[in-house]
């Protein structure tokens, strides 16, 4: 790997993740993953269910510690940081959209979106509150004072996206950000992500969505925890088997 390149963006090198079950048997969820997630690009991670897409995303975010290999970001070896330091790194660099959204059901839409602002401030600064409102509107949501447990799946997905973008992070890690959306909303989300990449952010999406894959600059195809053959054939498009 070109050391200069590693200094700039986000990259993973020879990443391996193993889980041990109750009987002590090892299960390799990821092995030998080497990839770069360049600023200004959308990277799509595709692959069948259980192939390790979410696991890879959580590794990049510093939520999971890989069993082998490393994760680098601009000179920082994220994978060798302690737990608190990884939390801080994630807080300052990553916007997370989880596959199951993980909204705080007790909070309203705006409160959810502005939650990340509470980590560093005594009170949500008005500028971030306004930014939250703008994001909510941009994603076609209403700023309703109801707990988000009342919202539809698609609405919740968009709240999760808005929350990920609030602090204007350099890296956006989104797990299936369009899975619960209709075509029109999915297209608008894809457009938003494209715009973010255009602003120089590294956008990493786990997705099954052709629409999103078609806008990706890079596609990583996982199969049983390994990087498979290139998923996109310039003549045949997305391989049917990888769409799961």
């Amino acid at each position: 790997m070109n050391p200069h390149e590693a200094e700039v963006g986000l990259s993973v090198f020879q990443l391996g993740v193993s889980f041990y079950d109750a009987t002590g048997d090892r299960f390799n969820a990821l092995s030998g993953i080497t990839a770069q997630f360049k600023p200004g690009q959308i990277t799509a991670i595709v692959g069948p269910s259980g192939s390790g897409k979410t696991t890879l995303l959580h590794c990049i975010a510093g939520i999971l510690v890989p069993s082998s290999g490393e994760i680098r970001h601009g000179g920082v070896i994220v994978s060798s940081l302690g737990e608190s330091a990884r939390d801080a790194w994630r807080r300052h660099n990553c916007g997370m959209v989880f596959q199951d959204f993980r909204l705080i059901d007790e909070l309203t839409v705006l409160e959810n979106v502005t939650t990340p602002a509470l980590f560093g401030h005594y009170r949500v600064p008005s500028i971030l509150r306004e930014r939250g409102s703008t994001l909510i509107r941009d994603f076609g949501l209403l700023e309703r004072s109801v707990p988000t447990s009342r919202l539809s799946r698609g609405e919740r997905q968009r709240v999760a996206l808005a929350r990920a973008l609030l602090m204007d992070p350099a890296i956006i890690l989104a797990d299936e950000p369009t899975a619960s959306l209709d075509r029109a909303n999915a297209a608008s989300v894809a457009e938003t992500l494209e715009g973010l990449a255009g602003q120089g952010k590294a956008v990493v999406c786990v997705t099954h969505d052709d629409l999103l894959v078609s806008r990706a600059h890079e596609v990583i195809s996982l199969k049983a925890g390994r990087i498979g053959p290139p998923a996109v054939d310039p003549f045949l498009g997305l391989r049917a088997g990888d769409r799961a």
Partner: protein, 406 residues
């Protein structure tokens, strides 16, 4: 970093569970507080009631019994002082006054006490209304008596149980017609609902020598030693402190006993010291129960809380922030519970006091004092320290594992 908006949202959304938890804590705290507050109210209330009875002389026996019949006007049978001793006592020059007491009559459930106007004035510290009795057919009522000055009544022989004359073995009215001429100030004792009459009339109605020469209708001292009957007790107001001890010694004999009610009460409390220990044991048990409730409640409530805390960490929240939310949540509930418990404890103590006062006539004024606040503070402190435990555990767990599990 400010965990409060999230803590508040949690409390609001899970208000019923939170409220149940608060009530549980409050129940325990209020019991412990009420117990301690009530114990003190009883002690000070009874001491205040006995305060103006300087020295009591009665036939040898139980001081507690005499205290109960004389100061607290509980029905009971006491032996009589021999007439010679009574006569000597009533004319003892070492006393500012000696007031014989005569019991046994009643009017509409209120006890009638035969005594002298000196004792009435002394107990009441001047009257609230009217004047003291100057003739045998006059009476002074206690501050809480329903009777008005100017009202007349016929005293009834015997003291009916529960104020119900039907239950008395031999109820019959004496012939005399009595007029109320004055009302005492509140004394905080059962004397407040009693009726005070010249002791001579009580003696007369019971066909005893009435303390004066035949045909002499005088009331109060001096009493004729030759015509003095035995009395159940006499209240002595010693002229000086030295006289108080002289009098006590002089009447502590085979034929009589003399004691200071305040001292007898203190002795009674020290006997009840075991009871106090039992009460403080009870208080400790309730506190332990409260703390257990806190732990259980927190464990249950944290089932709602933990997934959200994990989410916050997955978003990059500092561990201290997570711990602060977890702690703030429990701490707020404990604070609310202890605060409510203090108020409810006072309310409970007040209610019990009202009920006891209605039953005994002893005025009880419950207060919250240092010891109650200390109980509350210790529960609060322990709760707040216990709240650190789940907070510590929650922030310490590995995020990867928690996220996979929730």
């Amino acid at each position: 970093m400010n965990p409060w908006p999230i803590v508040r949202a949690f409390l609001v959304r899970h208000r019923w569970a939170a409220l149940a938890f608060v009530f549980l804590v409050a129940a325990g705290v209020s019991l412990a507080v009420a117990l301690v507050s009530q114990e003190r109210a009883l002690r000070t209330g009874s001491a205040r009631a006995a305060d103006r009875f300087d020295l009591i002389v009665a036939a040898p026996g139980s001081q507690t019994d005499v205290l109960l019949t004389t100061v607290f006007l509980r029905p009971g049978t006491t032996k009589l002082l021999p007439p010679e001793v009574t006569a000597r006592l009533l004319n003892d020059k070492r006393a500012a006054f000696v007031a014989p007491i005569g019991f046994g009559d009643s009017h509409r459930g209120a006890p009638i006490v035969g005594t002298t106007s000196q004792l009435v004035i002394h107990l009441s510290n001047e009257l609230q209304e009217g004047r003291v009795f100057a003739r045998r057919e006059e009476a002074v009522v206690g501050a809480a008596s329903p009777m008005k000055v100017g009202e007349t009544f016929q005293p009834m022989h015997g003291i009916p149980r529960d104020g119900n004359p039907e239950e008395d073995t031999d109820p019959h009215e004496h012939g005399a017609m009595i007029t109320v001429v004055g009302r005492m100030k509140p004394t905080g004792s059962p004397w407040d609902s009693a009726i005070m009459m010249p002791v001579e009339l009580v003696w007369q109605l019971h066909s005893l020598p009435d303390g004066h020469e035949e045909g002499n209708e005088a009331v109060g001292p001096p009493f004729d030693p030759a015509r003095t009957p035995g009395v159940p007790a006499a209240v002595v107001r010693p002229a000086t402190i030295a006289a108080a001890y002289q009098l006590r010694n002089a009447y502590t004999t085979n034929e009589s006993m003399a004691f200071f009610p305040a001292e007898a009460l203190t002795r009674l409390y020290s006997v009840m010291g075991d009871l106090r220990q039992l009460m403080s044991l009870l208080a400790i048990v309730t506190q332990a129960l409260v703390l257990m409730a806190i732990v259980m409640g927190v464990l249950l409530l944290f089932r709602f809380l933990v997934p959200q805390l994990i989410t916050l960490r997955a978003l990059g929240a500092p561990r201290l922030f997570i711990a602060a939310i977890a702690w703030g949540f429990t701490a707020t509930l404990v604070l609310a519970g202890v605060g409510l418990g203090l108020v409810a404890g006072y309310g409970l103590s007040y209610g019990v006091s009202q009920w006891l006062a209605a039953d005994t006539g002893v005025e009880l004024t419950p207060t919250l004092a240092l010891s109650e606040y200390l109980i509350a503070a210790s529960i609060l402190a322990t709760g707040w320290i216990l709240a650190l435990l789940p907070a510590y555990v929650v922030q310490r767990r590995s995020l990867a594992i928690s996220l996979a599990e929730s």
